[in-house]
């Protein structure tokens, strides 16, 4: 979240403050420092350290933090995995990932100072003694690097291994619940469960070992610059917030489109589908940021309380309403930038008779004072024409008089569009007179691009999120009650679908913006999709 202005009381990091019963030199010197500088050094233990997420995202993110001088000095990054690997081999693995996936090219001099902080421990969670090598190795590393014993456990492993890993950490005495100094934190990735029941089971199991303020549930969408900018746009500009309500907003659209197919994730995706994979987490998180009330402070729990209220205000879609307000579909074969691509059922690892949805569109109502009567239409899908995530806020039309009097040439309503990816930024569409003697009106854009305005590339979401975990700031992470509230809301939809085992599933050709049923969903309200 943004730094407080200079005149405001200096913000402290909530958990760091709670963590600090002793008055160390660090505590004294960090007074008045901004967040990144005041991060305590720690060991980051990555379970699944030799996996794809670590290779593509985590290690490049940590390297970029290092490049920016934001990674606390002496930080140890310890990959953990079953596969035997030496520290040097792990450094090569990291170097390869950084070379391929870092937003900035590998700098050999920076690498030389980053690499010594990388370690690898071969360990498993198969039995009680299996984490012993990790414990002894961490002790040595922390002693050698002068670390205070703060640890972050990152579970970059399949969800089925979350609970066993946490239990092993507890049995092996790596962590004590509520432990404040040295502190211990845990990061888990979505999906958190496959339904409400399984989400609760995971949360219960983790809660046996970690206190809620030690738990960081990552939704990487929340780490994106533009997503963070939604609150800034709304609450740091007096022009927008007065308009964000049912008096002025006609409807809101959220589109999260992917061009890729299921790729290597068929095993997971077959069990998940678009609703579980994208809507229950990413899209509902975006919706909460657009719709939430102004929080009274930027404290993590205050912001998250407001977001939770939005989820709790969502009108439930149940029974026959699911058929009316939700469209699911599966992509067939088609084209991606001119190249033929297979249908979902022809993808490797996918059941040829699969009924898993690769696309979902919903019409959602928020039953509160602010948004009463304003539809939120959201959609997400695979194999769509372009990779794009966008929120568009459509203002009401001007009355059909004066410049909008001609029904054949109606004015375009104003639209505030927030581009989350790619080409992060936002634009405001307004009507303007074309120069000349006649009154002709053209929809023009006031357009802001992060890339060309601020230069350089924006930090990756994982950079911000990892730094926040180190700083103990939970604002951008999902709290247990929010995760479960989101599951509670999607469950009636999943239940309805589970009953419908024979109805034909709508399809759409790969490379198109979804099935005709999705167009009908929005056109029934007199509106149409805005393609990013």
């Amino acid at each position: 979240m943004p730094e407080a202005p200079a005149a405001a009381p200096q913000r402290t990091t909530p958990s760091a403050a709670a963590d600090s019963p002793t008055s160390s030199l660090f505590e004294q010197l960090k007074v008045g420092e901004t967040l990144p500088v005041a991060v305590e050094p720690a060991s980051l233990v990555i379970f699944g350290g030799a996996g794809d997420l670590a290779h593509r995202k985590l290690l490049p993110a940590l390297y970029n933090l290092h490049l920016d001088g934001l990674l606390p000095p002496r930080t140890a990054i310890v990959g953990v995995g079953r596969k035997p690997m030496t520290d040097d081999q792990y450094r090569e693995f990291a170097k390869d990932g950084i070379t391929q996936f870092s937003r900035r090219p590998l700098d050999e001099r920076a690498w030389e100072t980053f690499a010594p902080g990388l370690f690898f421990v071969t360990a498993s969670i198969d039995d009680d003694a299996s984490l012993a090598p990790l414990g002894s190795r961490l002790d040595v590393i922390e002693h050698e690097r002068g670390l205070p014993g703060n640890r972050i456990y990152y579970l970059a492993v399949p969800p089925s291994v979350f609970v066993p890993t946490v239990r092993q950490l507890h049995r092996a005495r790596f962590v004590a619940k509520g432990q404040e100094r040295p502190w211990a934190r845990i990061i888990i990735e979505k999906p958190i469960g496959n339904d409400l029941e399984s989400a609760r089971a995971i949360n219960d199991a983790i809660a046996e070992v970690f206190d809620e303020r030690q738990i960081y549930r990552i939704d990487h969408y929340l780490g994106k610059e533009t997503v963070q900018n939604i609150l800034v746009l709304r609450f740091a500009n007096s022009i927008f917030e007065p308009l964000f309500n049912q008096k002025y907003i006609d409807h809101v659209q959220i589109t999260v489109a992917e061009t890729e197919g299921v790729g290597t994730r068929a095993g997971y995706y077959e069990q998940a589908g678009a609703l579980r994979d994208m809507v229950q987490n990413h899209l509902l998180q975006l919706l909460t940021l657009v719709a939430m009330e102004p929080p009274y402070s930027l404290d993590a729990d205050v912001v998250r309380d407001e977001k939770l209220e939005v989820i709790q205000s969502l009108r439930r879609i149940e029974g026959a309403d699911v058929d009316r307000f939700v469209v699911r579909a599966q992509h067939g074969p088609g084209f991606d930038m001119g190249r033929p691509v297979p249908g979902y059922r022809e993808e490797k690892g996918v059941d040829p008779g699969s009924r898993t949805e690769t696309f979902v569109a919903l019409q959602i109502w928020i039953d509160n004072w602010r948004w009463a009567g304003v539809p939120f239409v959201i959609r997400t899908g695979k194999r769509m024409p372009k990779r794009a995530s966008e929120i568009s806020i459509h203002l009401k039309e001007v009355p059909p008089i004066l410049f909008n009097a001609n029904p054949a040439s109606k004015l375009d309503p104003n639209v505030l569009s927030i581009r989350i990816q790619p080409d992060e930024g936002f634009a405001l569409g307004i009507s303007s007179k074309v120069p000349g003697p006649r009154v002709r009106i053209y929809p023009v854009q006031m357009d802001f691009h992060y890339g060309s305005t601020f230069g350089g590339s924006s930090p990756e979401a994982y950079e911000r999120l990892l730094l926040d975990v180190m700083a103990g700031d939970q604002t951008l992470f999902m709290r247990r009650d929010m995760v479960e509230a989101a599951w509670r809301w999607v469950m009636p939809i999943l239940n309805r679908w589970a009953e419908q085992t024979t109805e034909p599933l709508p399809t759409y050709p790969a490379g198109e913006w979804g099935p005709p049923e999705a167009n009908r969903l929005i056109e029934a309200t007199g509106r149409k999709w805005r393609n990013p």
Binding site: M337, G338, P422, A427, G429, V434, Q445, G511, P532
Partner: protein, 336 residues
């Protein structure tokens, strides 16, 4: 006055790297000097060009040959998506892609326009997947059909993405086929498609002149189709647009048959005689209206080149009822 291009930054790329490479180009340019990104619309330009050899790319200059593309986007900044489409090929996937930023304006007010060129031997069914990827959703989309519609009818899938369809009927070799090719575009149902014929602009001064010259006596001749139109060679489409306009406004029945003739003499682009008394003659500079036994008058013709005209049409989003009615009347006439 429109700006001339002051800089071009180009780089070849791949289909998957179009957006990242464009972003990189913008960043590079922004480092050198402040620049505003200007985009009023998506401008999809389709060129039906067969490559000399399958899979062999044309240079960007070859691709945009005879097309005042830079001049148009200087006047109406757009995200240009220049597609070379080769109908003779059935192989899919673009084989040459490049991205560029054209810079205009004085140093203190530089603005840039992005251009994406895709050369593809894609089948018609796969071509839309390329264009769909490249369109920006927050601005209107115009398709500028630079080919002769009478020979290369528009691709429905491309037109379905557009809000405006711009063409120039002057280029048609077969007016009847050109008009009939537009028939489906006139009936897009509830979806709004604005048609813009650059040639139609040329008729505007003549229409204005007739509005001011007409009398009750002329009306009777006009209603009965007692009209003779003589056009300069190459301007047959313009003549028929005039017929379409009159047919729509005078509600001509099939029996009303104006005489439409070509001439290879004189410097008039188009002359229209209404009955025995009234004549309006259009050339590149004026419309001269003469009436037997009365003083004539002239209406000035605005001087604009093709880039001016195309840019003006792009800016002029909207429903041109006169053009639409004229085309509808011609479709009915040529369908018989």
């Amino acid at each position: 006055m429109a700006q001339s291009v002051v800089d071009r930054a180009w780089r070849p790329t791949t289909p998957d790297d179009i957006e990242p490479d464009l972003a990189e180009l913008w960043r590079t340019i922004a480092k050198e000097r402040p620049i505003a990104r200007a985009v009023m619309s998506n401008l999809v330009v389709v060129r039906e060009r067969a490559a000399a050899k399958a899979g062999e790319p044309l240079t960007i200059d070859e691709l945009a040959q005879d097309l005042p593309l830079e001049e148009v986007v200087a006047r109406h900044p757009s995200r240009v998506i220049l597609i070379q489409h080769d109908r003779s090929q059935t192989v899919c996937a673009p084989f040459a892609v490049s991205v560029g930023v054209l810079t205009f304006g004085p140093p203190e007010a530089r603005y840039g326009v992005e251009e994406i060129s895709v050369q593809s031997a894609c089948a018609e069914q796969s071509l839309p997947s390329i264009v769909r990827r490249l369109l920006r959703g927050d601005v209107p989309t115009s398709v500028w059909w630079t080919e002769d519609l009478s020979q290369a009818p528009p691709l429905d899938a491309l037109v379905s993405m557009a809000r405006q369809f711009v063409y120039h009927s002057h280029d048609w070799r077969d007016v009847r086929r050109g008009i009939l090719a537009l028939a489906t575009l006139l009936n897009t149902g509830p979806r709004r498609l604005d048609l813009a014929d650059v040639n139609w602009r040329r008729l505007t001064p003549l229409r204005h002149a007739l509005l001011h010259a007409g009398t009750a006596a002329d009306l009777d001749h006009l209603r009965r189709g007692n009209v003779q139109i003589v056009y300069r060679a190459g301007d047959e489409a313009l003549a028929w647009l005039a017929v379409g306009w009159l047919a729509a406004r005078m509600e001509w029945t099939p029996e009303a048959t104006p005489r439409v003739e070509e001439t290879r003499h004189g410097d008039e682009t188009l002359s229209m005689a209404v009955g025995p008394d009234l004549t309006a003659a259009l050339n590149d500079h004026r419309v001269l209206v003469t009436r037997r036994g009365a003083a004539g008058f002239t209406v000035s013709v605005p001087q604009e080149d093709r880039a001016d005209a195309v840019a003006a049409e792009l800016r002029n989003l909207g429903h041109d009822a006169c053009l639409r009615d004229a085309l509808t009347a011609l479709v009915a006439r040529f369908s018989r």
